[in-house]
């Protein structure tokens, strides 16, 4: 099916603009940024100027007011060229801006959204050293003290939380016990620079090396009660809803990465010769491209359709998980094939296949591992019903 089928004129133009930007501005520096683990403030600023950082929030907050399909196309096109910079944009929009826009009060939205649409970043702190898939084991606490809350604990693997342009992060904390004995969770908007709050980059990552991933330490951090996001006790629900949408952007990163690896390898295979023939004409190579093309077609159509459901406000817990699972596994397969098709050059950092291969692996782990996606899907089809 043609790439742009059923897209409107603006969506096609968005795709072309972001593709051109990614090819001309990001691709030439991607290898170097990856190698040196350099988060580029400069590129982030340029992406903000293009309007990528407030992608789906309304114009009154300085946003671009995109529908979900358009937003997902942006992430897809960035990821087609570079996982790290796609991650900066995807995490910022889905995890940083999303919760404030969906659950924040007017005061919070007016305070933060215009800045977040124009170049400042915001993180989303759910994962802890002892609470990843098992978010229910969250140990960070917030205790009420007059007009303030006092937060203690730590977070890890938080994207965009410790750059020089980060404004703050949303922190999930246990705020008490429910009447039924289960933990009560709430989210807080905590600004960088608040006394007792330390956010610092995690280095030596295998992938997304030019994206900022942080650990956060909270040591008696006092925030005013106006920093509570939405209602006390809503924290877990907010996190789950955020992840429902966040999965779409990871899915889109998978689709884009798979397309990028495919395009990169196809271009190579049509030039490289062995035994006097272009290697693209060997059936063993050609069938790899055929298989990935099948995946790309199915993934793109399913993901866009799921985004249309999200636009309509339909619950997408199952569909989002399917899209995320399928696209991230496709990215793994496509990048694996790409490395194989490049042969020895596939293993050399001057070529891009190995970066696709490394970046793909995160997609099967972040925002819910593939195992957790299967759990979500299985639960949705009723496997665990009484």
């Amino acid at each position: 099916m043609p790439l742009n089928r059923n897209l409107n004129e603006e969506q096609v133009m968005l795709r072309e603009t972001v593709r051109k930007f990614a090819e001309e501005v990001i691709r030439p520096v991607a290898i170097e940024l990856d190698e040196t683990e350099h988060f580029s403030v400069e590129l982030t600023k340029q992406m903000a100027e293009l309007g990528l950082m407030g992608a789906f929030i309304p114009e009154e907050y300085g946003g671009t007011a995109l529908d979900y399909v358009s937003y997902i196309i942006i992430v897809e096109e960035l990821s087609r060229v570079d996982g790290s910079n796609a991650a900066t944009v995807a995490a910022h929009n889905s995890l940083g801006v999303g919760p404030i826009y969906y659950f924040g009060n007017d005061e919070q939205k007016e305070k933060y959204l215009p800045q977040l649409a124009s170049g400042k970043l915001w993180g989303f702190g759910l994962t802890e050293p002892n609470a990843g898939s098992d978010a229910g084991n969250t140990q960070t606490t917030a205790v009420e003290d007059g007009d303030y809350w006092i937060l203690n604990g730590s977070k890890t693997f938080i994207t965009n939380a410790s750059t020089e342009i980060t404004l703050g992060s949303t922190i999930l904390a246990v705020t008490g016990e429910r009447p039924d004995g289960r933990k009560e969770y709430s989210c807080f908007l905590v600004e960088n620079g608040t006394p007792g709050y330390i956010a610092k980059p995690i280095h030596k990552k295998m992938m997304w090396r030019a994206s900022n991933t942080s650990e956060i330490f909270l040591d008696n951090v006092r925030v005013h009660k106006s920093a509570l996001l939405g209602k006390r006790g809503d924290g877990f629900k907010q996190m789950l809803k955020t992840l429902d949408y966040g999965r779409l952007s990871i899915a889109s990163m998978g689709l884009g990465l798979a397309q990028g690896a495919f395009d990169y390898a196809l271009n190579y295979a049509k030039q490289r010769k062995a035994f006097g023939e272009k290697i693209s004409t060997f059936q063993a190579t050609a069938f790899k491209f055929a298989d990935i093309e099948v995946g790309l077609e199915l993934a793109r159509n399913y993901l866009y359709e799921t985004c249309r459901m999200a636009n309509e406000g339909v619950k997408i817990t199952k569909e989002g998980a399917i899209a995320k699972l399928y696209c991230s596994e496709l990215a793994h397969l496509a990048s694996n094939h790409a490395v194989q098709i490049l042969g020895g050059y596939g293993l050399i950092k001057e070529y891009e296949a190995e970066r696709y291969y490394r970046d793909a692996k995160l997609l099967e782990i972040g925002e819910g591992t593939s195992e957790i996606q299967r759990l979500v899907i299985a639960r949705q089809v009723g496997c665990f019903d009484e």
Binding site: E9, E10, V12, M13, L14, T17, K20, F21, E49, L50, G51, L52, A55, E59, T64, A65, L66, I74
Partner: protein, 248 residues
């Protein structure tokens, strides 16, 4: 300041071109079209001039209904309005220039920008014909511009050097790569481009001055010779390129 920018819709440079079944035109099936790359420099220059001096940028194209996408593109980048001279027939450079001239003679722009050539037919004729019909000064293949009052100083490429011209507005400038660094349209502007007006004008029927009688892809025949790397061999390669292949 009133600025007119003429833009055209051309096949993407990466598109694989095939000749159509009539042997006279390219097969447009599955061809991706883009805004002519040289027109991007023209458009950028127009927008910068407007940003400096105020006024209005109008983008104009002559082409079939499908050409509207490049006008939206021009509007997204920063043109204020667009004019679409619609014609479904195949036409020559004279027709394009005369249609633009007709609009320009009513609009009376202070300056007209266009790309030095369209990368589809590469005839480089429209700027010159337009200058002739409108009787306006023209600088072609321009790589640098300076404005002083109603005078325009244009640097243009010539074989082995450059030439500096001084033109009085109203005038016509055809843009070369290097004139500026075209911007990317901002996403919010892409979304707003839909709301900007496109005036549609039906072009008159027209008898072409020039008829295309045939179109062929470059032949891929080879000399099929293998030579060594001695000085004699190199002389032979130079001779073959010169005399047999007639490359230089």
């Amino acid at each position: 300041m009133n600025i007119l920018v003429a833009v055209s819709r051309v096949p993407d440079t990466t598109t694989k071109i095939l000749v159509g079944s009539d042997g006279k035109f390219i097969d447009t099936n599955n061809v991706k079209f883009i805004l002519n790359p040289y027109d991007e420099y023209a458009l950028e220059e127009a927008i910068r001039l407007k940003e400096k001096n105020g006024g209005k940028v109008i983008a104009i194209t002559v082409g079939p209904a499908t050409a509207q996408d490049i006008l939206r593109n021009a509007l997204a980048v920063g043109a204020d309005e667009a004019v679409h001279i619609k014609s479904e027939q195949n036409f020559d450079s004279f027709f394009v220039a005369s249609q633009i001239a007709e609009y320009a003679s009513k609009m009376k722009p202070d300056i007209i920008f266009m790309g030095k050539q369209s990368i589809d037919f590469d005839s480089l004729q429209v700027p010159s014909i337009l200058s002739d019909i409108l009787d306006l000064p023209l600088a072609t293949i321009v790589t640098k511009l300076n404005y002083e009052g109603n005078m325009v100083k244009a640097e243009r490429e010539i074989e082995g050097g450059k030439e500096v011209l001084s033109l009085q507005m109203p005038c016509i400038i055809s843009a070369q790569k290097g004139l500026n660094e075209p911007r990317y349209p901002k996403l919010p502007d892409i979304m707003k481009a839909k709301k900007k007006p496109i005036e549609e004008i039906d072009a008159p029927n027209y008898e072409n001055n020039i008829e295309i009688i045939g179109m062929e892809l470059p032949s891929r025949s080879r000399l099929n010779k293998i030579v060594g790397d001695t000085d004699e061999d190199i002389k032979e390669i130079v001779r073959m390129l010169h005399e047999d292949a007639k490359i230089f």
